[in-house]
Amino acid sequence: MNKKTKSLVVLMCMVLFLAACGSNGNSNGSGEKDPAKPNKGITLTAITPPGMEDYYNARSKAFEEKTGVKVNIEVVAWNDIITKLTNDAVSGAHTYDIIGIDDIYLAKFADAEWIVPVDQYMTEQLKGDLMDYANRFIQYKGKTYGLPWYTAWKTFGYNKDLLKKIGVDHPPQTWDEFIQDSQKLQQEGSVQYASAWSWGRMEAVICDFVAIMGTMGAEPFENGKPNFNTEKGLEALQLMYDMIYKYKIVDPASIQFAESEVNSAFAAGQTAFQFQWGIPLVDLNKPENSQVANMTDLSLFPSKASSASTIGSFVQAISKGSKNPEAAWDFIQFLNGPEGQKDMILKTGGTDKFTAWKSVSEDPEIQKNLPGFEIAMKQADTALARPQLPWYQEWSAMMQDRIQMVLLKSKTPKEALQEADQETQKIIEKYNK
């Protein structure tokens, strides 16, 4: 080895040594522990859907000031989160400490052991304050896996002014009234289509099917067993079909719409009714966002048997690969605990998310800021959760296609539900093999 090569090797060793001595993100720099901030210097990584990143960043900054723990946030599109987390878990990369998942995926993540139970952190106070419906979203097989962040159920909005113009002074309470009002609105030329729905090839169509079947007096799954290939399921699917083709009161473009497109049409005054997540009145009453400011209100979802809705939650859990589960839990509680959720609703307006805590929902400060609060809470009592099954995703994708085949007229509701029932049995057999 000549002199030059030796010098090069020594230089490289020095660089590597210095790099190894650099901060690994877990040291506090001074080497001394701050008793008030035992986890100071730790860096956590979290994943979140878009729309709330500004609030999330502000809250994580407040958390850093309080605890010294930094939280890096990765914003990923709603529909891509599950894919990203699946890849991360399967590859063993364990990039995230805190993961956020829709409650319908909790069973899969818990069965695969990609998230860890948090029962040891759940105090009696937290347990006592949590609403009953919220408990369902974070528990699986008797264990608790996180705290609910985005909690929302669908509410029925209507345009008071448009109804007044056709001489109707109350929102429709039954499906018959809904059909009559819609037809009248269209005949009078107030709107081209009275409503648009989120019946695109996505989870949204299942959410609406669950609620509509609920208004017939049944759920697609009862006690974890399929119950959709029944008279009530058929009535629900037939109504969806009839609203497009028989009564012609639903925009046919609904077959490709997501919730945002439904809300856009309603906010533009192009439709008179919408079934939407949370309390959309907050944004609808802002003239800069909407052409129907102060013209809309909430009412219970029309029904045949009794009103119903669909409820869902975005659960924040600790990844199995997290090296700092306690710090991760501290952040989850800081963001999603009663204090955190009150802060979130006050600062973000609670438009499409609501609280999981009794103390927050009873807080007068929260109630006065949310128009339609009372109706929304009444609708919450009727809201149905989708089942927690490890094969839910596969079932949902299959069911979305069957519902769409009906809406495309390529199958009758009866054929579609029979086929869906057979496919469900195959999925169950596959998972139970």
């Binding site: 599950i82 894919t83 699946t86 890849n87 399967v90 899969k108 069965d111 695969a112 052991e113 695109g200 090839r201 996505m202 925009d251 046919p252 473009a253 609904s254 077959i255 490709q256 049409a265 192009q270 490890p390 094969w391 995703q393 596969e394 994708a397 296609d401 769409q404 085949m405 809406l407 495309l408 390529s410 998972y431």
Partner: protein, 298 residues
């Protein structure tokens, strides 16, 4: 003093220089390739970690082959490949012939031609989704103004229109590549052949069929291979435009396999399905190469 003394042979020196790249290629290509072969023969039992990974032989392949949804997605893929490959070749050839003429601002048009090809596929999908929006899209507005339609058409929610719109958008984004290759081939044809044909009284159409087309045969076969492979690998554009919907009417095999692997966490089935598709592409490529040999094209 001898300045020509070599510390090591040129071959070894080249190998050292290439080593980082080779390592990268092995890491990024060979490892995933081998791992996906491994995956296609196992069941990871993701939702049942107590069982763990199990060797299942050819079960993943058989599961795909016995799944009507897989066959349906293959059928859609074949239709998609057939229409878009032929379509892009025809439109590309037409564009190349046009731009091979001495027209005004030819350079500008040649540059503009590349735009659809240069835009990332997801963006192309989003652009087309906006154009085809049933209520705000420019296509409906245009047709309405021209008096061709009276009601908005829901292009991407209709079982037939959605597929047609995918064909059009794929042809739109892929024809510039075809045009570019044809344009290069057109410029290699000796001009004196056309002059001689003209002297002999050949019409432009005859010159096209008897001079231009034979010269373009090799390029056409290369394009057939590349575009067929491209069509079978299609994913981004369709994912951005329809996500396989409405129902499963536009679910090509790439989307189906993506859903199996990354949505349902059935990585074994997804990997096995990918190898079945790879085999099909290889068969097609083999047929094309045979054709090239039959026609003695190199």
């Amino acid at each position: 003093m001898n300045h020509n003394t070599k510390i090591m042979s040129e071959g070894r020196f080249a190998l050292i220089l290439l080593a980082p790249t080779l390592l990268l290629i092995v890491g990024l290509l060979l490892y995933p390739l081998l791992y996906s072969i491994y995956l296609s023969f196992v069941d990871l039992n993701i939702t049942n970690p107590a069982i763990g990974t199990k060797f299942v032989g050819f079960r993943n392949f058989m599961d795909n082959l016995s799944d009507p949804v897989f066959w349906n997605s293959l059928k859609i893929t074949f239709n998609f490949a057939f229409v878009t490959v032929i379509g892009s070749l025809l439109v590309g050839l037409f564009a190349a012939l046009l731009l091979n003429n001495k027209i005004r601002a030819r350079g500008l048009f040649r540059t503009l031609l590349l735009i659809p090809w240069a835009i990332p596929l997801v963006i192309v999908g989003m652009i087309w989704k906006l154009i085809l929006h049933p209520n705000y899209g420019s296509l409906n507005a245009l047709l309405m103004k021209a008096g061709i339609i009276q009601h908005n058409i829901v292009w991407l929610s209709d079982a037939n229109w959605s597929l047609v719109m995918l064909f059009i958008s794929e042809i739109w984004r892929s024809f510039p590549f075809v045009a570019l290759l044809y344009l290069a081939a057109l410029q290699t044809i000796p001009q004196d052949l056309f002059e001689a044909a003209s002297v002999d009284g050949a019409t432009k159409r005859k010159a096209f069929w008897h001079i231009t087309m034979p010269y373009l045969q090799a390029t056409t076969l290369v394009l057939l291979i590349l575009r067929t492979i491209d069509a079978f690998r299609s994913f981004d554009l369709i994912f951005a435009m329809t996500k396989g919907g409405p129902a499963n009417k536009t679910e090509i095999v790439g989307l189906y396999l993506y859903k199996q692997g990354f949505t349902f966490a059935n990585f074994g089935g997804s990997a096995a399905g990918s190898y079945i598709v790879t085999l099909l592409i290889l068969v097609l490529v083999f047929i094309y190469i045979k054709l090239m040999k039959v026609h003695n094209i190199s």
